[in-house]
């Protein structure tokens, strides 16, 4: 994989920030967009734009084809059985909330259990917390090892026949651990529960096969994988989605509307009330084409190499704490520099043109677990190079000197 050549396909990366060439290392927050995606959205608005599923006119057909074509691409990308199992949403947050709000109250009651972990992003924590509060269920946490990984024995001990839902991220947005979701799914199923996977940090970076994982629901965001913001999807097993009630009512999602009751369209449209995010879906389809053109195995391999190179180089900086496991599978590293607050680290790095994230990363419980109020995070993508890591290391050394 030629990252330098790929970088040239991302117009935004070709600029200087504060007098230095931009090094963008905030990919876990959002990725940049290649020209192919930007052009696809432009092409949609210049050639196809119309509302979907209702226009009899030509543009209506073009827009519908583009939108439903994108759904087919998502189904293929996740290796879903059928495109009707792909619900377009605003992103991971909306997808997870859809499951918690619709599937949740129908299957969880007093005395039941919902199992999550302390490493969850707020978007895969609060919906379950709220569901537990509303239904009188118990929220349980799978314990974590000191480096943040999860042992299957602890999963076995936490999940019981009372567990109705297990919700977990595939990849942590802070620790960079890859959770054994396939094994956890099997344990959940053996106990009569279902598993919901937050795929926000996994989908952009590795090959995903929802059938192989045997997961019941899988949520992800497009904007972290080269697509525009405002589009994501929920995959669900057909029989589960069919049994769920919509949570948003309005245009597009109905079969027949009477004065006192109504019926819904079939999957996936019953969950897509209102005019959908058509241009976003088109952009997501183009992003999938772009990523498949590179190959997700190649993306994963590139990031694994980059992450381990970064771990090695960062470990050489005195006074730098690295959070998470030593050996890395994905390109995401969280750290703190001794006696320098991560906001100050991020500001100094920015003055060298290097973009990293600082804060709690929407993981306040995990920050408490790490005994850190905030951390800095560098996260990589297919266009990052070893040179970018070298720039980061140099920037951190400068930061230390500045605050020393």
């Amino acid at each position: 994989m030629n990252s330098k050549a790929l970088k040239e396909q991302f117009p935004i990366l070709n600029q200087e920030i504060n007098g230095h060439p931009l090094v963008y290392l905030d990919n876990a927050a959002t990725s940049q967009k290649p020209k192919a995606v930007i052009d696809a959205v432009k092409q949609y608005y210049e050639w196809e734009n119309s509302n979907v599923h209702r226009g009899v006119h030509t543009l209506g057909s073009r827009a519908t084809e583009a939108y439903e074509g994108a759904r087919e691409k998502v189904a293929r990308f996740l290796h879903a059985e059928d495109a009707s199992q792909i619900i377009f949403t605003r992103g991971t947050t909306t997808a997870l909330n859809l499951v918690a709000s619709s599937y949740g109250p129908a299957h969880v009651g007093i005395g039941d259990e919902i199992v999550i972990t302390e490493m969850e992003h707020h978007s895969n924590l609060i919906p379950w917390q709220q569901l537990a509060i509303r239904t009188g269920a118990t929220l349980k946490y799978i314990p974590m090892q000191p480096d943040g990984h999860i042992e299957l024995a602890d999963v076995e001990a936490t999940i019981t026949p009372k567990t109705k839902i297990v919700a977990i991220n595939y990849v942590s947005n802070v620790l960079g651990v890859v959770n054994p979701v396939k094994e956890i799914a099997a344990i959940a199923h053996r106990n009569g529960g279902i598993i919901v996977i937050d795929g926000a940090q996994s989908t952009p970076h590795m090959k995903i096969d929802v059938q192989e994982l045997d997961c019941d629901f899988y949520a992800f965001s497009g904007h972290k994988m080269c697509a525009p913001t405002g589009i994501g999807a929920l995959y669900g097993k057909k029989e589960l989605l069919e049994g769920m009630e919509p949570i948003e009512f309005g245009g597009e999602m109905i079969n027949d509307v009477g004065l006192y009751e109504s019926t819904w369209k079939e999957l996936p449209w019953k969950f897509e009330g209102g005019t959908p995010i058509i241009a976003g879906a088109v952009g997501l389809g183009a992003a999938i084409d772009f990523l498949e053109g590179i190959g997700m195995e190649a993306v994963a391999e590139h990031e694994r190499k980059l992450a381990n190179y970064a771990m090695e180089r960062l470990a050489g900086i005195e006074g730098l704490t690295l959070y998470g496991p030593k050996k890395r599978e994905v390109g995401l590293i969280t750290f703190n520099l001794e006696d320098v607050h991560p906001h100050d680290v991020a500001t100094v790095l920015d003055s060298y043109g290097i973009a990293v994230r600082a804060g709690h990363h929407c993981c306040q419980p995990l920050m408490r677990w790490l005994k850190a109020t905030a951390t800095a995070r560098a996260s990589f993508y297919l266009y990052n190079t070893e040179e970018d890591i070298d720039r980061l290391v140099d920037g951190l050394i400068q930061t230390k000197e500045y605050f020393g």
Binding site: N18, G19, H341, P342, H343, D344, T347, V348, D350, S351, A358, G359, H360, Q364, M367, T373, A374, Y402, F403
Partner: protein
């Protein structure tokens, strides 16, 4: 971008040698504020008698900007009437929006004027002052 616009020597001095760090007993006015977007937090305590801020202390965690601002603020309001303290807070808010940066009554504060060039850091600087306003109210 000039880093030294943001991190002036005075600021680093307040960060590394904080004034008024600590706590009073339970009878002091206590305000706990945090910045939910970044996790900075401050616990400010004020002793107000006869409309005068007799003393101020704080504890908290945060970046150099938020903690140095708390150090300066607690120093600056000591001995001020409640009205004068609020006026100081108002002038600080104005400075963060690019307004006048003269603080004859406590010149160190002027060092924070550079923060307004760093939009992402303004909320760091204003945390302690928001706690002050809340405490007086």
């Amino acid at each position: 971008m000039q880093l030294d616009d943001l991190y002036r020597r005075v600021i680093m001095d307040h960060y590394k040698n904080p004034r008024n760090r600590g706590t009073f007993g339970d009878d002091a006015v206590t305000v706990n504020l945090n910045n939910p977007t970044c996790g900075d937090r401050i616990s400010l305590q004020l002793i107000i008698e006869d409309g005068v801020v007799k003393d101020a202390r704080y504890t908290g965690e945060g970046c150099s900007i938020s903690m140095s601002s708390a150090s300066m603020m607690t120093d600056a309001v000591k001995g001020k009437t409640v009205g004068e303290a609020l006026d100081l807070a108002d002038r600080f808010s104005k400075m963060m929006k690019g307004g006048d940066a003269e603080f004859d009554d406590y010149e160190d504060i002027e060092a924070l004027s550079g923060v307004n060039k760093f939009p992402a850091r303004i909320k760091c600087a204003t945390l302690a002052w928001n706690a002050l306003k809340k405490g007086i109210e």
